[in-house]
Amino acid sequence: MPIRSCSCRDFTRSELLRRGVAQAGAGLPAIEPGMPTPAGTGLSRRGFLLRSGGLALSVYGAGRLLEPHAFEAGVAAAAQSPAAAGRVLVNVYLQGGIDSMSVLYPAGDPLYSQYRTTLALAAGAGPVFTEDPRLFWHPLAAPLAQLHNEGKVSVMPTIGYTDPNQSHFTSRHYWEVGATQAELMTGWLGRYLDLNGTADNPLQGLCLDDSLSPALATAKVPVATIDLPSTYSVWTQGVWGPPETVMYDAFDSLGKIGVGSRDAGMIQSGQAALMTSTLRRQLLPFQPADGASAPPLPALYPSVSDEFPARMAAVAQLLGAGLPINCVSVSTQSVFDTHENQVPAFEPGLQEAADTLLAFQRDLEARGLDDRVLTLVWSEFGRRPQQNASSGTDHGAAGCAFLIGKHAAGTMIGEWPGLASGLDPLGNLVETADFRVLYASLLEQWLGQEAAPIIPGAASMARAAVVK
């Protein structure tokens, strides 16, 4: 039993759908062809409120519900469409530019110990990378080695782009928008959702964080941000019963006033209000009832003080509950910007990330979701091969990325270029794979979306084999 488990209540797909149908009103199609309409469909709203044992459902009185609850109907409809059982991409960002030469360290490269005078690890200290015996996994990255040995990890040892930018914010922006264009304001997954999502399902692009991941920023369709589903609750003082229940309709009416104004600040508030209202309804089943204890998770997540493992566990739970989620974005809370005294900062972060990613994969496998989910792990750049005098490393260029999942091709994309000839004039690693090629390949091979409308210049790019 993990110490730090997420206290969400686990829900089976049919239970969730029953709730969705019950909340959304009559007239929705049957859940899946041949599947009986679940018990509970058509319950009166008041009855539903009573049955849910104190859960403050936002529904009260039948007549005026449908219009402000259109999102709810949208989610319920999406949950019943084939897309809800479709493929999911989980986008995991390692903050700060992780030192790829410490994740997969080139102990077999003759120059390694000269560049990393104090940071170098000995050959064999960690598991050998089976596709290139010059490289070794950091001992704390052994969980990734394990998944790699099972054929579930595609490793990109030196991924980046030409004319690398060494600003955290610029390089991260490039990765997030899927192009080396500073002015792009939508994320690459946001543009995918704009073409493939619906106007009424914010869960299609879900960010577990305290702010929206720019990779999910859309131009048209809604996406959502939550911290953790179990903490998504409304606090009031001296408000309960029907005055509380109808208060949630006021979220919608205030939101509409904001969205209907011509002022960008008011619109931002209004959009957030409408999304909050929708998301609150979607996540009601995850609010623990009074006195309910958290069920055990099917995989062992690390117990650390930050929220990354809990958020990844929540992703598996939300997917397991059948919510109509297509793209997810999560970022580590560990920051890998190791300018000085690298080892004590780097190692706990790496350990937490690797342990969590293994647990997440095992969780998906236990829930039978591993056929549907691929996890992309990236960072804005790698670090300079030559360590600095503070026993740290400065911003570099190309770095590492990983694609994890049962259907990841499991073979290296790009290669380790070697320190003798693989550096640019500034002493940074030159990329042997391009992140835009990776994105274009993922869009086409995993998400079934032609890359050209999403990734600028995709038409003339090569493709990598990323999926098996």
């Binding site: 205030l254 508030s269 000085e340 503070s390």
Partner: protein, 464 residues
């Protein structure tokens, strides 16, 4: 603001400080005063808007930029059970220490500019690990907040918290650390990729070498930050086409004299006051004012607060910590709990903990997480004794009057007609849901409590 201070402001002749920037000539009433007090301070106390409006625009601005008093007015901060705060030592009490100043300071703009500089030179205790160093940096930012940018940049470069945060301390000739050299150009002075090269980053980092510190054996905190010439690279550097044996002061001098710096400075400073960019001609004039004044901050701030776009332009979403301070000010509450330390993280802005060296993203304050957290703030604001007790509180069941009461609870923020109608509509629906006698007795108080939360969740309140 007390009458005496207003009288003093009126007697004080406004200096000619606005240079060639246009000056707002429109009405200056409660709405304009409200905007000024939210953007150049932490919101009005009840009655402030009318008083400030009566000053007229120019005197109102000068009352903020040249405050007659820096006093903290009201009871000293404490946490539960009356315990005094320990800002250096206890988790979260650093946040309370500053929030208290935001709430109580008579020099509202000074606190607001301190917040601006905290965002501009964003340093996080996540990396510094010393509330003492963070608060010392904060004091420096407050002291210099309206002086000159070169003074501020110099002070921040040698500031111990900054030196820890961006690895300047310990950057030596043998291996210069590029962290500070990069961010001082990218984020503090020029803008990303604007007028410098990767080689400039490297050369600046050489010029900046030589800072070091020791460790206090007793506290385990970094201590004794100083420049050691032995660690400094005194070779020739080439920065922006200038060559010389540059040291750290040269590095900063070259930076503030970089031709692209004034435009960056003006645009960034303006962005803290208005979401829409200055018109190009005004930005150019402001950059000229900045250079000709010796890179002073106060004259530019005054000109910006008098600019027509400040009053006529779009609304601005209140930064979360500004809204928290303003809510406290409007209900006459002072720091009496440590809840604000963690509530601030839920709404997305914990002072002393910016998300990264670029500061907070002020274009995306509100999302599904932070909107709900702002809504939830009210529960803490009115707890425990401000909440109306059902059955005890006398609330007349009139939706319009109840809405007005709820707005007045927060000092009477100006809300649009549609928003007031939506709030009254809620009150009507909530009251109508009562069928039994006991419900008709209790629901008005419950409804009034909910209305208070809805007022400050409205789009007009979020953006001013």
């Amino acid at each position: 603001m007390p009458e005496t201070a207003i009288a003093r402001r009126r007697r004080q002749k406004p200096a000619t400080v606005h240079g060639s920037l246009p000056v707002y000539r429109g009405r200056f009433e409660a709405a304009q005063a409200e905007r000024l007090l939210w953007r150049a301070g932490f919101g009005p106390r009840p009655g402030d808007c009318a008083k400030v409006a009566a000053l007229g625009m120019q005197h109102a601005v000068l009352s903020l930029t040249r405050p007659a008093s820096h006093a903290l007015v009201g009871p000293a901060p404490h946490v539960e059970k009356g315990q005094p705060i320990a800002p250096y030592d206890v988790w979260g009490n650093d946040v309370l220490w500053w929030l208290d100043r935001m709430v109580r300071s008579r020099a509202q703009l000074i606190e607001r500019m301190t917040l601006t500089w905290h965002d501009w030179f964003a340093t996080s205790n996540e990396g510094v690990n010393s509330q003492r160093l963070m608060i010392n940096q904060n004091r420096t930012q407050r002291r210099l907040c309206l002086t000159t940018f070169p003074k501020m940049l110099t002070a921040m470069t040698i500031d111990p918290a900054m030196q820890v945060w961006l690895s300047l301390s310990g950057s030596t000739k043998q291996a210069p650390n590029e962290n500070y050299a990069r961010e001082m150009q990218e984020l503090f002075s020029l803008g990303v990729g604007n007028g410098y090269t990767e080689e400039d980053v490297r050369q600046h980092s050489r010029a900046l070498t030589g800072w070091t510190n020791s460790w206090n054996q007793a506290t385990g905190e970094p201590d004794d930050f100083h420049f050691d010439p032995k660690l400094h690279d005194d070779g020739v550097k080439k920065i922006y086409h200038h060559s010389g044996r540059f040291g750290w002061r040269d590095s900063l001098r070259l930076l503030v004299h970089h031709p692209d710096h004034p435009a960056f400075f003006v645009a960034k400073l303006w962005s803290y006051f208005c979401p829409e960019p200055l018109p190009a001609a005004d930005a150019k004039s402001a950059a000229e004012m900045y250079v000709s004044s010796g890179r002073q901050i106060r004259p530019l701030v005054e000109a910006m607060l008098m600019h027509p776009l400040f009053y006529d332009g779009p609304r601005m979403v209140k930064p979360p910590i500004v809204q928290i301070a303003g809510m406290l000010r409007s209900i006459g509450r002072y720091i009496d709990t440590d809840s604000w330390a963690w509530e601030s993280s839920l709404v997305g802005q914990t002072p002393f903990y910016p998300p990264n060296v670029a500061g907070w993203d002020a274009t995306r304050w509100l999302n599904t997480d932070t909107w709900l957290a702002r809504f939830n703030l009210t529960a803490e604001m009115i707890k425990p004794h401000r909440a109306l007790q059902p059955g005890k509180a006398k609330v007349k069941g009139d939706p319009v009057a109840m809405t007005k009461h709820a707005i007045d609870f927060w000092g009477g923020p100006l809300l649009s007609g549609p928003t007031r109608a939506a709030l009254a509509g809620y009150a009507r629906a909530a009251l109508d849901s009562a069928t039994a006698d006991w419900e008709r007795q209790q629901y008005p108080a419950l409804t009034e409590n909910a209305l208070r939360a809805l007022v400050v969740a409205s789009p007009d309140y979020h953006a001013c």
